[in-house]
Symmetry: C2
Subunit: 557 residues, 2 copies
């Protein structure tokens, strides 16, 4: 790698050509600084996988050079991989007060909080990490205390935007973007800009959070009975807006869902949330108040089947019931892929007779995105006026749209690099090149099993999930390899119909296969299994147009 040379390098271990699993690295000479370490949730093709985290083989091989992990903000796709990372590489973690609160919850769950090195920073901190100096600027997003990062190296300045939008009237005025700092660094000179691309396909400027506050207030005013609001727990501004609307309409607030309770606790503890004394009550105290004096704030806005909102919608939340004329507000947009789960919950609430306020994107007025639209992205590019640009944090088409935006504000054609995870962009003597890569990949977390579930296991799960399995048990003689009794056929996940006919055929086929073997293969289990699989598979497909997994088991006695 670039050791002993004064080369400035950038690469991603995750987050490019995907949404999620963000992990980026800046290298200068002997020093490596990591930015974020997120997870990603699997799509439905990855059967049984719980989480995906970045493969950090490269960092382990270069562990003495890794100086720090800097975390831009506390969303799962930026912090969800940290416990797994620290178990392998216990480097200092720098993050703001609120972000650290969320990281600590995770490290506690993984029982590694004590040995971890967590260092609190704020937007005015300055760090010296080997030859790399680091400063920060505030950005506005959908979680408190977010940072953009300035890396100063002898080769030049690199800016990483974090996740951002330009909301000039956020719920908390302290969260306003530090535009003057951004302008200053732009004036000083930015060699390389790394900017997030989530909403690069969407025209215009993100609406302000203020819009949601206004709509929530009106909905609370009009609600005849209790109000149930679901949003991301980490969206503390949204939580504050719900608190405000409840306060104005004289309602007590009940919190439901573990992550809601966790995050509100962190936010209250650390001063990110303002709640009048006595306003939050326990769900057991609810019945002491009439329904028009109650508001519920809960998790599950993405349709997660085990979260509070889904359980409320099916009457399966112990002690809390949604009734006709209650008002249910979905104050979060569905993430792509979650639409159907969310709308089925909306349907359930309609079936109850509740009033439901929902909508895609910001159409209901109850949600605005935390990621800047095209005009936000252009403003960042304009402030930074970088020489080189790498769009990050997005799928490929978003990166391409972002490149066009960069070119539209004057970044030279050819100075934008569309890269993949693992591609390394090296800058030396002011010239950037992408010619090499490092190993990267997906590490699957399956329960307590990290990194051991791969291609073979997933292929078996897929085959079984489509057509089930036939297990055929053969008892054969260790002397002459002959069948000692009828084979036994057991099915799982195959059919609820009778298949005695098929079972008979399978047994006959098996016997025929065994007896038809050449003498020299009589005790070669590999051959026996292969032949049995083949003949049964053909027969079953012919009969039923199904392809179950065939598992022959041989007992030799």
């Amino acid at each position: 790698m670039s050791t002993n040379e004064n080369i400035l390098s950038f690469f991603a271990l995750g987050g490019i050509n995907e949404i999620g699993k963000n992990m980026y690295a800046i290298e200068y000479a002997n020093d490596i600084v990591i930015i974020d370490c997120g997870n990603k949730f699997p799509d439905e093709s990855l059967l049984g996988i719980d989480l995906i985290i970045p493969d950090i083989t490269y960092l382990i091989e270069n562990k003495d050079r890794v100086k720090a992990l800097i975390v831009t903000h506390g969303h799962e796709d930026h912090i969800g991989g940290i416990p797994y990372f620290l178990k392998k590489l216990n480097v200092p973690v720098y993050a703001t007060r609120f972000t650290l609160g969320l990281i600590e919850i995770k490290l506690k769950e993984h029982k590694i909080l004590r040995e971890s090195k967590l260092i609190e920073i704020n937007a005015n901190s300055k760090l010296e990490l080997g030859k790399i100096s680091v400063e920060f600027f505030k950005v506005t997003h959908s979680i408190p205390d977010c940072l953009g990062i300035i890396f100063r190296t002898p080769e030049g300045n690199v800016v990483h935007t974090g996740d951002f939008k330009f909301d000039l009237t956020p719920e908390n005025i302290e969260e306003r973007p530090e535009i003057h700092k951004m302008a200053d660094i732009g004036k000083e000179g930015v060699l390389l800009l790394l900017s997030e691309s989530t909403n690069a396909e969407r025209a215009g400027l993100t609406p302000s959070e203020q819009m949601v506050a206004d709509h929530l207030e009106v909905a609370f005013m009009n609600a005849e009975r209790k109000v149930i609001v679901s949003t991301f727990a980490s969206n503390v501004s949204r939580v504050q807006q719900v608190v405000n609307a409840a306060y104005k309409t004289n309602r007590k607030l009940v919190l439901l869902g573990r992550s809601m309770l966790n995050v509100v606790e962190v936010a209250l503890d650390r001063g990110y949330l303002n709640v009048p004394d006595g306003m939050i009550i326990d769900q057991n105290e609810m019945n002491a108040f009439p329904p028009e004096k109650i508001a519920i704030l809960c998790t599950g806005s993405q349709g997660e089947p085990l979260a509070a909102l889904a359980r409320l919608s099916t009457g399966n939340f112990r002690g809390v019931e949604v009734l006709p004329k209650d008002t249910v507000i979905l104050a979060a947009g569905p993430i792509p892929g979650n639409e159907r789960s969310v709308t089925s919950i909306v349907d359930n609430f309609y079936a109850i007779g509740a009033k439901v306020i929902y909508g895609s994107g910001s159409s209901s007025g109850m949600h605005v995105s935390g990621h800047g639209y095209q005009e936000d992205l252009k403003l960042m590019l304009t402030l930074m006026k970088p020489k080189y640009f790498i769009p990050i944090h997005g799928e490929l088409r978003m990166l391409h749209h972002h490149r066009l935006l960069a070119e539209s504000i004057g970044v030279e054609k050819g100075n934008t690099f569309i890269i993949n995870n693992g591609d390394v962009v090296d800058i030396e003597h002011g010239v950037a090149r992408q010619t090499r890569d490092i190993p990267v990949g997906n590490t699957y977390v399956d329960g307590g099993d990290v990194g051991n579930v791969g291609e073979f296991v997933l292929r078996d799960r897929k085959q079984f999930s489509e057509d089930g399995m036939l297990i055929v048990v053969l008892t054969i003689s260790k002397y002459d390899g002959k069948l000692l009794s009828e084979p036994e056929t057991i099915s799982r996940g195959f059919t609820d119909g009778t298949f005695s006919e098929l079972r008979k055929n399978v047994n006959e086929l098996t016997a025929k296969t065994i007896n038809g073997l050449q003498e020299e293969n009589r005790n070669d289990w590999k051959v026996i299994k292969r032949e049995i699989k083949k003949s049964i598979q053909q027969h079953v497909f012919h009969q039923m147009k199904k392809k179950p997994m065939i598992v022959p088991i041989i007992i030799e006695i």
Copy 2:
């Protein structure tokens, strides 16, 4: 049921509280007329299921009263169940020329075309089905030759809209909605209106197909090299627009994908499509023309992994390659649930370096919905001014929105029925009531297995797909129930990591469980299996946080 009584009844066997599997029925006295018989594609929770069709138990029990199946149009969610239905109940099928063409393809595949009774009708046909007289009116949708239906009964008139929008400038002028006929029946009097609800959540009026024609033409003009357009094969208007744009830019047209070839053949045969002689060429002839003289029209606009578009995007379509600077147009919006499959294809084309024109809904100008928005629905309601209204063809929230639309144009509150599949609305002496229901449900098609894959099979598939399976084979003595050798543990879909330690523990646990059994349970296989399952499950969960399916197999010798 209502035999011997002069009651008019309506119910749905599918299509309500869901998108798909449309099947409705009108009963009057002894006569039952069925409207449509569709299928639905399973969501990812129904592992391995290929199709869902309506459960027609009620119709089979009343088969002598079923007079006919009338089909409004040829989409899968209206015709996909027909082969399965006719195998059980061979009633006459009435449909328009184009719709029959598509039905015939299906019946051929199921080898029942010859014995089926298919009767061609058009918008001017009149049928007498027992005491029910039937007339029709044309509606505009996203497939040719669509019908709305008027049922005249002694109790009053019932109108079923079919799927519709009001496009006054469709690609084919013959497809214009017959507004005068609709006005006439409204004037005559509509006792009950059944109207589709797909887009009841969307404000405004559907844009005209004309918009797409204009955008396609511009895109073809600007294309530097070959153009690839993907759309629903059944959207013959869209196909015609592509033909027109190709003709204007002097391009030959190549068709890819089985259903595209099938449907275009039907459309050409039956005169629904106008293509200049020699314009359609075989894919083998492509190389004789320069790329700027080629257009490709293909299936796969929903991201189906085996369809032409997905294979083109990954370079896996034999003989056809998409190259840099080719133009790819997605001329169909993604159906909810398909977004991620579609965008990953878009990303693949970006990776190739192609120009991609895509967008959600009608944002790219390359797609308009075939289902009327709120203003279309209000126009239908206004024309029909029904006494009673039942919103059909939609999920629950859509039906609720549709009810509000009906009330907004003057349908009396209380006269709209929001029903479920199976609920029966009876009208007698001009008064409608919903007090009874008939059995309905989902029939799963799994390969050649129709109706035999249910709860148990799906539960096994789900458990396996999440954590795989451990098979434990025990050889025990038939005399004293004692283990004769080490148990054998085989895993599938469990882990790719080594688990020799776990296997050892499982064997020990098994031996311990067997030896710890009470004397009287020694040969009770049910008890043995239950105890082994329990102890292994606990152990594996404790060690690995996984819950594989445990299958003990006992061989007694």
